[in-house]
C-alpha cells in the first residue's frame, strides 16, 4: 500500500481520523489514467479525490497548475475551496487554491490565466471557456490531475458531454493527465467509467462501503392528502412538528413553484418564528448566499429547497431530509437522502410527504424499491452532435486546427468514441458554411480553410460571440425581478419571460417566499412592490421533469391488482376503491381509457403504464388520429403511467384511433410538425450556434427585431429537411420518445382488450395529471375553431360587428 507523506498522515492522526479504505485505494491508484470512486455522501469522497494531489504537492510544489477540480455547481466550487484550505494550511502546504466560475471577477480571471494556482476549482462551462483561449497551452502546461465531482449528475445532461470534450482538449495539451471521477450511488458504474476515461483507456471503479440502509418512511399526518395537487399544504403542521424535533431539516421539492408555495404556507403557520429559509435557482445570488451562510453557521432550523441544494455541499448538521411530492425516481431519492446525517456509517433519516393520493401509491412503491436496492435509470445515448458543433467553434476560437487532429481528439472523449468521420465532417461543414443544400453565401463562411488545410475563423472578432454563447444549459428566457424604487430596488430573483408577459399591473405572485405585486416592466426588469394582502398568482418557474422508472410503474401495477391495500393509508385505499368502483384500475394486459368532460373541454386519459417516453409517443400518435378524425385535439401531457389528451370533442369509440395502418399513414409529416420537435430544435440550434442567446449589446427582448426559432424550423423543414440540425433534432427528440415499433407492438399485444369508460367527470386516478408539467400543444383545426368562437364572442361583448 502506498504511504502518504508524513505531514499528511500526521495531520489525519491529529484530527483523530482514520483514512478510509477507499481513500487508501485512491492513493494506490493515483498513477492510473482514470479512476471512478463511488461513495455515499459523507464518505470523505472529496478528500479521497484530493489526497493524491496533496500528497504530490507536499514537497516542493512546482509552479503552475497541478489539479483541476470540476463540479456542476458554482457553490460547490466555493465550498470545496473553504474545506480544502484548512487542511492545506494546517499541514503546511504552500499551495494556492482558487476557484473560477461565472461569479469570478474579470481581474481575478485574467490573473489566473497569466499565473495559475496549483489547484483550480471550476465548472464545465468555465473550463470549456478556458480551452477557447489562444494561450490555453501555456496556462494548462504541466497539469497532472483532473477531479470531476458529482459526475453522476453531470452525466445526466449535455453539460457532461461538454465537459468530456473540454477534457479531451486538455488531454491533448497535457498527455499525462490523470482523471478521477467522484460519484454518488448509480445503477450502472461501468457506463460512468466509460464516460469519464479517455477512450480507450481503462478505468478502475472503486466502490466505497455504502453504509447502512437509510431510515426512510412516509410522514404520518392527521390531515388527508387531496386527490390532486402538488402543494402538500395538508402536511404543514406535521412538517413543522418534525422541524421542531430535529436540529436542521432540508425540505426538498421537485419544482421551484412548489417550493415557493410550500415556504409561504409554512411561514404562515410558523407561529413560534422558527428560523426557516428558502433556496432555489431562481433566487437572486445574494439571497442564496445569505441562506447558505446562515445554514453553515447553524442558524437555520429548516431550508425549503429544490435541486439547487441537491449536490454534495457540506451544510453541516442536517439530521432530517423531507421530500415533498413523489420522488419520481428512486436513484434521486437515495442521493437526496444522502444529504442527511453526514456522519459516515450512521443511517440517514428521511421522510416522504406525498402531495396527493396517487403520490401516496408512488411513495409506497418507491419505499419498497429503496428497501430492495432497486435503482433505476435510462442508459446514456451517444454524445449529442449539437454539443460537438459548439466545441468545433470553441476549438476554432483557440486557433487554426486541422480536421484530422480535431477528429482524433474528439473521438477520445467517452461519449463520442463511436462518432464516425462522416458525422464529424457534417458538423464541421455546418460550423464552416451553415451546411445548407443551397450554398448561398460562401463568401461569408464562418470558418475558412487556409492553404495548408487548417481551418480558421473568417473574422477573428467571432471569438467573442462564440465565448458569450458557450454552454448547454437551456435556461428558458428569464427576467430579473426587483422591488420598485426610484434608484432600482433590491433584486429578488428571476421569473420566466413567458410568465412575466402574462402579468398585468396589480397581479400578484410569490418569489422568495414573499407575495409581490407586479408594477411594470422597465428595461427588461420586472418591477414589483411588496404586498401581503392578496392571494398570489403562482410563478411558473421551470421545474425539471423527472422520468420515473419502469420498475416503479411495475410495482404500482402490481399494487393495483391487489383486492385491497393493507400497506396503504386508509384514505388512499379508499380512493383506489372509488376508482375501481366508478371506473376501473389499470391492468397489465389491458388498456384502460377514460373519456370525460372537464372545464369546458373533452379529455381522454390513456393508462398505458409504459414509461414517460412511450406515453409521450402515444400522445403524438393519438393526437394525429384525433386530428384526422375531426376530434379537434388541443394538447396532451404524458407521465410514466398515462397520457392525458384534451380537445374540443369527446372520443366515444377508441378503435379508429388505434388502427395501425392509419397511424402509420402520414406519420412523418405529423411528427415533423409537432411542438416536441420545435422545442428540441430550439435547444439544439442554440447549443450548435445557429441561434445566439447573447448578441453582445442588449439582450433579445421580444421586440419586433427577433423572430421565433419555430420559423427557422419550418423553413428548414420546407426547403432543406435533411439539414444537419434537422437530423440532430430528430436524434435528440428521440431520446424523449420511443420507436414507433414499440408502440405498434404494444397496440398489437393489447388487441381488442381496450376498455373505454365514459365518465361524467374527472376520475380519481386522472385528477393528478391535470397539474403535470411538460404539456405539448397540438396546433390544428381546434385552434382555428377556438379562434373563431372566441373572436365572435369578443366582438359581441364589445358591441362591435365584424365589419
Amino acid at each position: 500500500m502506498t504511504t502518504l507523506p508524513s505531514p499528511i498522515s500526521d495531520w489525519f492522526s491529529s484530527q483523530g481520523w482514520a483514512i478510509h479504505l477507499h481513500q487508501h485505494a485512491m492513493i494506490d491508484r493515483a498513477q492510473d489514467p482514470a479512476t471512478l470512486l463511488i461513495a455515499p455522501t459523507g464518505g470523505g469522497k472529496t478528500m479521497a479525490g484530493f489526497l493524491p494531489t496533496l500528497s504530490e504537492l507536499a514537497e516542493n510544489p512546482p509552479d503552475g497548475l497541478h489539479t483541476i477540480y470540476v463540479s456542476p455547481l458554482k457553490a460547490l466550487a466555493a465550498d470545496i475551496k473553504r474545506n480544502l484550505r484548512r487542511p492545506a494550511d494546517e499541514i503546511g502546504l504552500p499551495i494556492r487554491i482558487e476557484d473560477r466560475t461565472g461569479d469570478t471577477s474579470a481581474t481575478q480571471k485574467k490573473r489566473q490565466r497569466a499565473d495559475p494556482p496549483h489547484i483550480l476549482l471550476t465548472t464545465p462551462e468555465s473550463l470549456a471557456l478556458l480551452t477557447s483561449y489562444e494561450d490555453a497551452p501555456r496556462m494548462f502546461d504541466g497539469v497532472q490531475r483532473v477531479i470531476v465531482d458529482e459526475i453522476h449528475a453531470l452525466a445526466e445532461s449535455k453539460r457532461g458531454d461538454q465537459l468530456m470534450l473540454a477534457l479531451a482538449r486538455l488531454q491533448r495539451l497535457c498527455p499525462d493527465l490523470r482523471r478521477v471521477g467522484l460519484s454518488a450511488t448509480v445503477e450502472d458504474p461501468e457506463a460512468i467509467a466509460r464516460f469519464l476515461a479517455r477512450h480507450p483507456d481503462p478505468c478502475q471503479i472503486i466502490q466505497a462501503d455504502p453504509g447502512p440502509d437509510p431510515d426512510i418512511s412516509m410522514l404520518e399526518t392527521h390531515e388527508m392528502p387531496p386527490w390532486s395537487g402538488g402543494g402538500a399544504a395538508y402536511a404543514i403542521p406535521a412538517v413543522l412538528d418534525q422541524i421542531r424535533q430535529h436540529k436542521t431539516t432540508l425540505i426538498f421539492h421537485n419544482t421551484r413553484a412548489q417550493a415557493e408555495i410550500f415556504f409561504h404556507n409554512l411561514w404562515l403557520a410558523n407561529d413560534e418564528g422558527l428560523p426557516i429559509g428558502i433556496h432555489h435557482g431562481s433566487l437572486d445570488r445574494q439571497q442564496r448566499e445569505r441562506v447558505e451562510g446562515a445554514m453553515v453557521r447553524g442558524e437555520l432550523r429548516a431550508i425549503v429547497c429544490t435541486g439547487s441544494l441537491d449536490l454534495g455541499i457540506d451544510w453541516g448538521d442536517v439530521d432530517l431530509v423531507i421530500q415533498i411530492g413523489a420522488p419520481k425516481n428512486v436513484k434521486r431519492l437515495v442521493q437526496r437522502i444522502g444529504r442527511a446525517n453526514h456522519r459516515y456509517n450512521a443511517p440517514s433519516k428521511a421522510l416522504l410527504v406525498p402531495a396527493n393520493r396517487f403520490e401516496v401509491v408512488e411513495c409506497v412503491a418507491a419505499l419498497e424499491a429503496v428497501q430492495a436496492h432497486d435503482l433505476d435509470g435510462d442508459p446514456r445515448g451517444p454524445g449529442p452532435r449539437d454539443v460537438l458543433c459548439q466545441h468545433i467553434l470553441i476549438a476554432a476560437a483557440a486557433g487554426p486546427f486541422q480536421a484530422d487532429d480535431l477528429y482524433t481528439e474528439m473521438t477520445a472523449a467517452g461519449p463520442y468514441a463511436a462518432l464516425t468521420r462522416a458525422e464529424f465532417d457534417a458538423c464541421l461543414d455546418f460550423c464552416a458554411t451553415g451546411g445548407y443544400a443551397l450554398r448561398a453565401y460562401d463568401r461569408w463562411q464562418r470558418l475558412q480553410q487556409r492553404p495548408d488545410g487548417a481551418w480558421q475563423l473568417r473574422d477573428p472578432r467571432a471569438t467573442r460571440r462564440i465565448r458569450m454563447n458557450l454552454g448547454t444549459i437551456q435556461d428558458t428566457d428569464t427576467l430579473k425581478v426587483r422591488l420598485k424604487r426610484s434608484r432600482g430596488g433590491k433584486p429578488l430573483g428571476e421569473v420566466e419571460e413567458g410568465f412575466a408577459a402574462s402579468l398585468t399591473q396589480g397581479d400578484t405572485f410569490l418569489i422568495g417566499g414573499q407575495i409581490v405585486r407586479y408594477e411594470g416592466l422597465r428595461e427588461m426588469v420586472v418591477e414589483v412592490s411588496r404586498r401581503a394582502d392578496r392571494k398570489p398568482k403562482i410563478a411558473t418557474f421551470s421545474g425539471t421533469k423527472f422520468a420515473t422508472s419502469t420498475q416503479l410503474s411495475d410495482r404500482i401495477l402490481r399494487m393495483f391488482a391487489q383486492p385491497d391495500w393493507p400497506q396503504l393509508p386508509r384514505h388512499t385505499a379508499d380512493w383506489l376503491a372509488l376508482q375501481r368502483d366508478i371506473s376501473c384500475l389499470p391492468q397489465r394486459d389491458r388498456l384502460l381509457i377514460e373519456s370525460f368532460p372537464n372545464d369546458g373541454r373533452e379529455n381522454l386519459c390513456v393508462y398505458g403504464f409504459a414509461g414517460r417516453n412511450a406515453q409521450q409517443t402515444l400522445g403524438l400518435l393519438l393526437t394525429k388520429r384525433m386530428e384526422e378524425t375531426g376530434l379537434a385535439p388541443l394538447g396532451f401531457v404524458a407521465t410514466d403511467y398515462a397520457t392525458l389528451i384534451w380537445g374540443l370533442d369527446a372520443v366515444t369509440d377508441p378503435r379508429p384511433l388505434f388502427r395501425l395502418e392509419a397511424l402509420r399513414d402520414g406519420l412523418d409529416t405529423w411528427l415533423a410538425g409537432n411542438a416536441v420537435m420545435k422545442r428540441t430544435f430550439r435547444a439544439s440550434a442554440t447549443i450548435a450556434g445557429l441561434i445566439e442567446r447573447n448578441t453582445g449589446g442588449q439582450r433579445k427582448s421580444g421586440r419586433q427585431a427577433t423572430f421565433s426559432s419555430d420559423i427557422l424550423y419550418d423553413t428548414l423543414l420546407k426547403y432543406d429537411p435533411d439539414h444537419l440540425l434537422m437530423q440532430i433534432t430528430r436524434e435528440e427528440a428521440m431520446r424523449g420518445l420511443v420507436d414507433f415499433g414499440r408502440i405498434e407492438a404494444m397496440i398489437e399485444r393489447i388487441g381488442d382488450r381496450i376498455d373505454l369508460k365514459r365518465l361524467d367527470r374527472v376520475s380519481p386516478l386522472s385528477a393528478p395529471l391535470f397539474l403535470e408539467v411538460g404539456k405539448v400543444p397540438v396546433k390544428g383545426a381546434a385552434e382555428e375553431r377556438l379562434l373563431a368562437e372566441e373572436s365572435a364572442r369578443l366582438m359581441q361583448a364589445a358591441g362591435l360587428s365584424a365589419d
Binding site: T433, G434, Y436, L438, A440, Y441, W444, Q445, R446, R458, D459, R461, A462, R465, A501, D599, G600, R601, L634, G635, G689, L690, I691, E692, T695, G702, R703, Q704, A705, T706, F707, S708, I711, L712, T715, L716, K718, Y719, D720, H723, P777, E783, E784, L786, L787, A788, E789, E790, S791, L794, M795, A798, L800, A802, D803
Partner: protein, 220 residues
Amino acid sequence: MNAVEITFAGQSLRALGSGALWWPDQSLLCVSDLHLGKSERMARRGGPALPPYDNRDTLNRLADDLASTGATTVICLGDSFDDLQASQSLETADRLQITALQAGRQWIWIEGNHDPGPVELGGAHLAEWSCDTLVFRHIAQAGAQGEISGHYHPKAQLRAKGRAITRPAFLVDAHRLILPAYGTYTGGLRSHEAVLTDLMAVDARAILTGPHPQIIPMPR
C-alpha cells in the same frame, strides 16, 4: 378567399390571412416589411448562418397572393430589404423572381427605415404614395387620416379555453391601418405594448392572420 372585409376611410378593403392587404377596387395588393436579405445580412455581419431560404419563401408567398388576387398594382410598404446592401446582394434566382412578379404590374417600393434609398430594381421608389382617400407610408404619423403603414410588425393574442393564440395582426381604427410584417424572417410586437396602444384609438380592432383570419377588439 381567406380574408376579413373591412371598410376603411370609405374604401372597401380585405385583410388577407397571409398578412397582405387587398384593395379590389384598385386591383391593388399591399405588403409590408418583407425584410428580404435578412439571412444574408446576418451572415455578412459575422452572425449565425441562418437558413438562406427566407427570400425564396417570402417571394413564393407573395407570388401566391398575386396569383390568387390578380393584382395589377403592388405596394411594398417599406423595409422591403433588410438593408440597402441586401438589395444589391440578392441571388440571381431571387432577382429573377422579383422581375417576373413585376412583369405587367405597377410596382411601388415605399422607403423604410431599413431601406431608406432607392434600390436597383424595377418599379417606382417613393417616400410615400396617395391613392383616392388612402395614403401609403412606412411609419405611422401623428394626426394622419386614411393612412396605411407598417413598421411595427404588430401581433395580437387572445386566450380561449386555456390556449393562448398569438398571430401577426392588422391593427385598424377610424384613421389608420397598420399591416403585419410579411417577410418570413420577421418577429412581432404585441398590440398591448405602449407604442401601439398610444398610436391606436381605444376602439381599434386587430385582425389575426392565419388560415382563417379573425377580427377582434385590439388587445391592450
